[in-house]
Structures are given as structure tokens and as C-alpha cells.
Amino acid sequence: MKELFLVVHSLCTGFYTTLKHIFRGPATELYPEYKRPLPARSRARIILTVDPDGRERCVACYLCSAACPVDCISMQAAENPEGRRYAAWFRINFGRCIYCGLCEEACPTAAIQLTPSFEHADRDILKMVAEKEDLQVDHCGKDPNYNFYHHAGVADAIRPKGGHVNESPPVNVRTNMP
């Protein structure tokens, strides 16, 4: 008798729960009409950012290309007259990219970054290949203050060697005076 009561009670609980959901209303967000703002760190479309001075951050070190598990990043390094490295061409095949974010982690200059913008499907797979011009943006992305050359320990146009943030002037190795 007690078992029967238990059966009936649990059945009623179940049916009541599902019935409640009808009046609760749907939790669905209709996608194209309402686009839920994604977290800043969600990973989708890749961009190449610039440093706070407005110069391109990428130094064509190939680390992102090496880190990429699906080999979708390729580039050609070059050097400008000033002696600063840059990518002559930079290509990401989004047809292959798995949006894992390893390139972003590998990048020493915070140049390559993943953004939340994800609506880039195309019927033609060749249109998924993005060149440097398609990737470059004119802002700093997620890291607005970082400038690699301010930490790199090399001289640039503004400051001499050792004049950057948290740096002390180079030690004169020819003397042992403190």
C-alpha cells in the first residue's frame, strides 16, 4: 500500500514538474533577432592588433605558426630599414582553424588575438582564407597598454636600451665598479 502511494506520488511529482515548465515560458534566445553579447575572451575570429603607439605588434617570429595544431597560419618575415621585424605577408586559413587559441597564448607581442565575432561562414572555402589586410585592425584588442618593445630590452626610436618600464640601464661590463 505504501509502495502504491509512493508510485502515485512520484508520478504526480513528475507530471507536475513538466506541467510547470509550460507556464514558465521558454528560455530560448532567438538568435538572429537577439544576439547575446559574448564574453570578451570567447574565441572566434582572429585579428592582428597594433601597439598603443599605433604600430603593428607582429614581429613575424613564427611562434603562432609553430603552435597551431592544424597548421593554418603561415607568414613571411621581413625587416624594415629601422631594423624592426614584420610580416611581409600573413595568412590564416579559417577553413582549417579550430579556434583553439594556442596562437594567442604563444604570441610574445600580444599581436595575434581571438575575438568573439564568429559569423564568418561561407559557401566558398577559398573565401575563408584571410590575408594580412583582412586580419589587421587599428586597435590594441584585449591588451590596451602592452607594448612589446617597452619590455624587450632593445633600443627603439624613443628610448635607449635599458630605458624602458622596469628596466635598469645596462651594466658596463668593462668596469667592476657598482
Binding site: 513528475g14 514538474t17 513538466t18 515548465h21 509550460i22 515560458g25 521558454p26 528560455a27 532567438l30
Partner: protein, 329 residues
């Protein structure tokens, strides 16, 4: 000859109306189920094709018709092609004996609102139910796939077992109505629907009819989790569509039979008779969708246990009690 031709024309018109209605309703029951199930799960359900997704059945139909019809290698071709038709046809044929309303008087002619009023109508319903087993068994066997085979074996065992409970649960109704004709059974409920007199028979009938039409929680023959989709794993395109159609027509059959046996058929105040039947069918189908949204699938031994150890003995006891009460009164 003229009389014969008029009769023939009237019959054809009735069949056309009922077939159109049943098929249209089947298409929209799919939508109803998807919508309701969505709501039960705090979703919306289809809402893209047409307002409220009202054109969804049309696009589903176009999709199924234009998809490739794959016939697996090693399948028994002819039986494979034939099996879905059995399921759909037996379900549709059942509607031949369901009364849709009181007799219509048109130009001095009495037109019964039923395709054919057999004096063995109820047995005809069971005959169709027992023939629909063939669709499931042959479809699974002819696919030459182990999942389909397991599904069809489960289906055959389940449908044979629950046919007994289904038949026995209706016996008290037949005893009360004194006839096997569905028209007479509806007429016998002029005063009160039989659900008030025979609640136990209603529960047994409803459960075993749900098992007969392989709905969740009795969907072991198609068990998506363990068998792919059971006996129609290998089907695609419109042949799968036929199985699908058969399932939803069977839901309607179940709704119509529940209405006829227990809810007073087309009887009801205010609304016209066929509309009342429609309302009752949709009510029963909604209850089935609610059950689907709530209960998980039975285990195989629980399924057989419920059928043989609970439903059949309960139905037998119900018959005996009904007999005693009727003799006593």
C-alpha cells in the same frame, strides 16, 4: 444502377474527406508535438517556417520527399520497400469504422457519418492493429542490420503482448454497450461517457494502446539510445516518412478510439459532432505528449512485467466485476 453510382460516389467522397483530414491532422500533430515538447523543455519549438512555424509540416514533407531513398546492400529489396506501407496503411484503414457524427439527412437520403458501419467494427480495429505488427517485423528484418533486427523483435514481442491487454480492457465496454459496432458503442454513451463507469478499463486501454503504438515510455522497438532508431534505422527519405506518418496516424487512431470507447465519441454540447471528435483526439494526443515529456523509457523486463503481470490480470478482474455488477442490476 444510378442508385449504386450515387452510393459509390458518396462512399468515395467520405473516404476522401477522412483521408485528407487524417493526413492533414497527422502533419499538424507533428508540429503540435514538437511545439508542446519544446514548451515542456522550456524551449520554443519550430517557429521559422511561417508564423508560429505553421508551414513546418510542408517543409518537412518536401524534405522527406526530395531526400535520397537509400536501400542498404543485402536488404531484402521487395520486403524492404513494402514494409513502411503496411504500417501507414493499417493505421489509415482503422479510420474506416470510426463514426464521425450522427446520421446526416441530405435530400431524403440517410448518410451515416462513417465509412463503413460493421457489426464487427471493434474486431476490425484489432485486426488492423495485429496486422501492423508485420510492418515493424518485416521492416526490421528486411534491413539486414542488427539494430533494426533487434528493434523488430522487440516490437513484435511488445505488440503481441499488449494486444491481449488491449482486447481484454475493451470487453467491459462491449458488455455495457452490447455491441461490437463502434457506432452502437457511441450511441450507448448518450447518457454518460464510459470513462465514468469504467475508469480502470480506461487506464488499461490507454496504457496498452500507447504500448501498441510504440510511444515513449514504451518505445523500446525504436529506442534511440541503444538501437539507433530500431526497426527503421536503415530507412531514409519518404519510406522513413511512411513509418513516421504511420506513427502519427496511430496516435490519432488511439485518440479516436479512446474517444469512441470512453469519452462518448462525437457527442458533446454546442460544437458540431466531427469537431467534438477532433477536440477529443487532440486532447488525448496532448496527454500522450505530456507523458512523453515526463516519463523515461521502460526497461525490457519492466515492460513485459507491466503487460503480463499487471494489465492483463487487472483487465480480467475488471471483466469479472463488470459481469457481476451487470447481472446484479
Amino acid at each position: 444502377m444510378g442508385l449504386w453510382l450515387t452510393g459509390y460516389a458518396i462512399l468515395m467522397i467520405k473516404i476522401a474527406v477522412i483521408l485528407t483530414g487524417v493526413l492533414l491532422l497527422a502533419a499538424y500533430l507533428v508540429l503540435l508535438e514538437r511545439k508542446l515538447l519544446g514548451r515542456f523543455q522550456a524551449r520554443i519549438g519550430p517557429n521559422r517556417t511561417g508564423i508560429f512555424g505553421l508551414l513546418q509540416p510542408v517543409s518537412d514533407g518536401i524534405k522527406l520527399l526530395t531526400k535520397e531513398d537509400v536501400i542498404p546492400q543485402g536488404a531484402h529489396r521487395r520486403i524492404f520497400l513494402f514494409a513502411p506501407a503496411v504500417v501507414a496503411a493499417t493505421a489509415l484503414l482503422t479510420f474506416a469504422v470510426v463514426p464521425m457524427g450522427p446520421d446526416l439527412h441530405l435530400g431524403g437520403r440517410k448518410i451515416p457519418m462513417v465509412v463503413t458501419d460493421m457489426n464487427v467494427g471493434l474486431l476490425y480495429v484489432f485486426a488492423m492493429a495485429s496486422l501492423s505488427v508485420y510492418g515493424v517485423v518485416l521492416g526490421g528484418w528486411a534491413s539486414d542490420s542488427k539494430y533494426a533486427m533487434l528493434g523488430s523483435i522487440r516490437g513484435a514481442a511488445q505488440m503481441i503482448s499488449y494486444e491481449l491487454a488491449l482486447g481484454l480492457s475493451i470487453v467491459p465496454v462491449v458488455m455495457l454497450a452490447g455491441s461490437l459496432s463502434l457506432v452502437d458503442i457511441v450511441d450507448a454513451q448518450a447518457g454518460r461517457p464510459f470513462i465514468l463507469v469504467q475508469p480502470l478499463a480506461f487506464v488499461i486501454f490507454f496504457l496498452s494502446a500507447m504500448a501498441e503504438s510504440k510511444r515513449i515510455p514504451f518505445d523500446l522497438p525504436e529506442a534511440e539510445a541503444e538501437l539507433g532508431s530500431g526497426y527503421h534505422t536503415e530507412y531514409s527519405g519518404m519510406r522513413f516518412g511512411m513509418f513516421f506518418l504511420g506513427e502519427y496516424v496511430q496516435m490519432q487512431v488511439l485518440g479516436a478510439l479512446t474517444a469512441v470507447f470512453f469519452l462518448g465519441g462525437w457527442r458533446g454540447p454546442l460544437l458540431p459532432a466531427p469537431l467534438w471528435l477532433l477536440v477529443k483526439i487532440v486532447l488525448v494526443v496532448t496527454a500522450m505528449i505530456w507523458i512523453r515529456a515526463t516519463l523515461p523509457r521502460f526497461r525490457y523486463d519492466q515492460l513485459m512485467g507491466l503487460g503480463w503481470k499487471f494489465l492483463i490480470p487487472a483487465a480480467l478482474i475488471n471483466i469479472v466485476i463488470t459481469g457481476f455488477v451487470m447481472v446484479g442490476i
